[in-house]
Symmetry: C2
Subunit: 491 residues, 2 copies
Amino acid sequence: MAKLTSRATDYSKWYNELVVSADLAENSAVRGCMVIKPYGYAIWEKMQAQLDKMFKETGHQNAYFPLFVPKSMFEAEEKNAEGFAKECAVVTHYRLKNDPENAGKLIVDSDAKLEEELVVRPTSEAIIWSTYKNWIQSYRDLPILINQWANVVRWEMRTRLFLRTTEFLWQEGHTAHATKQEAIDETVQMLHVYADFAENYMKLPVVKGVKTDSERFAGAEDTYCIEALMQDGKALQAGTSHFLGQNFANAFDVKFTNKDGQQEYVWATSWGVSTRLMGALIMAHSDDHGLVLPSTLAPIQVVIIPIYFNDEQKNQIDETANHIVNQLKEKGISVKYDNDDKQKPGWKFAEYELKGVPVRIGLGPRDLEKGQAEVARRDNLSKEFLPIANLSDDIPLLLEDIDASIFEKALEFRNSHITEVNSWEEFQQVLEEKGGFLSAHWDGTAETEEKIKELTKATIRCIPLDAQNENGKCILSGNESSKRVLFAKAY
Amino acid sequence: MAKLTSRATDYSKWYNELVVSADLAENSAVRGCMVIKPYGYAIWEKMQAQLDKMFKETGHQNAYFPLFVPKSMFEAEEKNAEGFAKECAVVTHYRLKNDPENAGKLIVDSDAKLEEELVVRPTSEAIIWSTYKNWIQSYRDLPILINQWANVVRWEMRTRLFLRTTEFLWQEGHTAHATKQEAIDETVQMLHVYADFAENYMKLPVVKGVKTDSERFAGAEDTYCIEALMQDGKALQAGTSHFLGQNFANAFDVKFTNKDGQQEYVWATSWGVSTRLMGALIMAHSDDHGLVLPSTLAPIQVVIIPIYFNDEQKNQIDETANHIVNQLKEKGISVKYDNDDKQKPGWKFAEYELKGVPVRIGLGPRDLEKGQAEVARRDNLSKEFLPIANLSDDIPLLLEDIDASIFEKALEFRNSHITEVNSWEEFQQVLEEKGGFLSAHWDGTAETEEKIKELTKATIRCIPLDAQNENGKCILSGNESSKRVLFAKAY
């Protein structure tokens, strides 16, 4: 195994190498599309299972809507259409035929041109709201609380594994409500669900906030977001929840009869997280040895590796190891005993380090004699000897401790990288030398926001939900401001 | 609620009405694509969960491959390409732009034409084997045992909800092996997994068999299948498992170094089931009142409906019902207490009958006095009074009994609809008057098979794996035959 480029040398290269060498994903032969490999997909499945549980606990049901959106439907909500039109894959034909000039080759059959082109969904508001129109007549039909797990396509010019790919996997919630307040409450509720998931399962601290007008989802009235910080000081938008107002109800003429017998347009939300979370998880915690995973999302939580020099030793270790495996499995821990004799222990140690398995248990003949095992933590690479007899009690506690430490470390890093800056000079200097979130006053105009982006590449990540009222001067224009916002360079 | 058309009146109409009125799925605004509604999707999720478990227990892992297949890759395996070319959705452009002649409308941007067209996957052998090429060098890299849950698109001219749709959801397993025998064993193993799932979870008896040359999957050496019988006497192919030989390894030049250091082409299988299984489940068991679901796949296994005339009664029933709910939940039963007072009990009875909830418990004031509840089975519509105190013991047994009965009924129907026929006259008569599977001798030629299809619309569903050797004469040509095959009209 070749060593990874270190984070300090080239963070971006480190990330790309790590994703590939830890068998998480790779680029495919299709421009901008990735192959998610089994180990990466296993992590995504754990994310899905937990999120799905949280969605269902908050009253949502899953459903499935078509991959294709007819162009006329796609363009109905103008802002949404405008926002996505430039990155749409378009299906124009429904048949291939033999190439008469090239045996064994196929060409598009020009006789099979669609009357109306189909857009491969970049997001599903249009197709879903055209469907909801038929489902909603009265207030009794509301709310509709639906989520969909699906693939979407956005034709990105510059792609990176997990972080920005032409096709990606995600979930998109689409809800319909009788009142504005109920829709806003739903939007905020789902933001909290995402923050809860990020902090308690990904062990990733996030800032909850609202996007500025220019960073808002196309077609939304308000976009709420959770923003995380990566180890290189760049921010990453980890999830968004949109209050869509009555925009889609207007576009698709979706009205309901309220309790007073009057017709009103329906209120909407949508919210989503994607395989981008994989990128966030990887970049937030991992180190120069490889992945670091919290036990909450690790496909393998504990690996046991035998160290032996002859068959008799191997048999003894097998017996002890299998006993430990059974005890841990009873506690609901996913454990792998790797007694494959084609690889040496040293190779295995490095392999499971690379793959981020939270706990490694080493078992040698001497350990057995002493009734102890060498237990190594992946997060801080520390090792200790623990009595074999106590492992089934000690390991669950150790996993909890590892998860808490991973979160604490990320939280400390994040908190130490939110810097209050009060002048343009300071802004530039901190952004350049330290990175992270810059908490600064802004005059509230799109012009200033755009100018700061042009000058520094920093964008307003969000107006934090817990931002305090504080009078100040915009760091660029010097105009009045009533609260600080968070700037950062971002993925 | 309007009554369903009866099966006897118009089976096809009954099916279409049932799918829509039981809230399983509906046609979308996109030609041939369906919307899977929450109740239908909940059944599909239960199918997925069980199949996924069975795939993992047999050593498979999930992964994800791109939605798009470049045309040059798609055409590499010629037979596969030929088989699917006529039903491919093709992406030719990656951008829309404003229509200069029509404000607010979009048109395809002709400047954004792809150099190479992308086919929306109708199946993923091509994209997956072009990926496997990079994963396989030595026998140590084999076997590869991967499954994918995905959407696929086949441009069908005549579509029906679940049974045949342009886009559908499925799983596709794609495995790579060092030897022919290992690949054949995998193909057969997965056929047995499908049969096990169909019989034990869908409660649907199936015939395991092999397809004839003309019914084989495009690009396969052998296609194994499970065939089920619907209540109208038509057969439905419920799952297929393909031995692909070295066809895709040849097409994509995928070789491995064997233990003797020699290069060999890799052996392949693929296998899949789809949302078509929903159609099979619905058509196999349901009746003129609505869906009939086995408890193994029912999103709600038990519904409790209160019958009361005043608030005091309601409160008493609520208390008892909540107690029953908790007891049943402890036993792992999914139970719903429907005390919504916007609907009358009679409406609820019909609604849950339509939705196929296996057991309905009715609770009225008199029942409470007597310590009993009215328990109704959905499968045979029988009712009995059971002591409330014993429900937590009785209901699990009742659900088992219902599941067994549903299977038995379907098995009896299927077995009584496999008819041995020995002449062309008999063949036509039984096909016309009774339907079902016709067990008949066939001379083994594609010509005869084709002619029978033309004359009667019946196709050879499979050569059953357990077919006995028996000398006979082909029912059409009179030529020699050594075993019977199963004919039927099919979905």
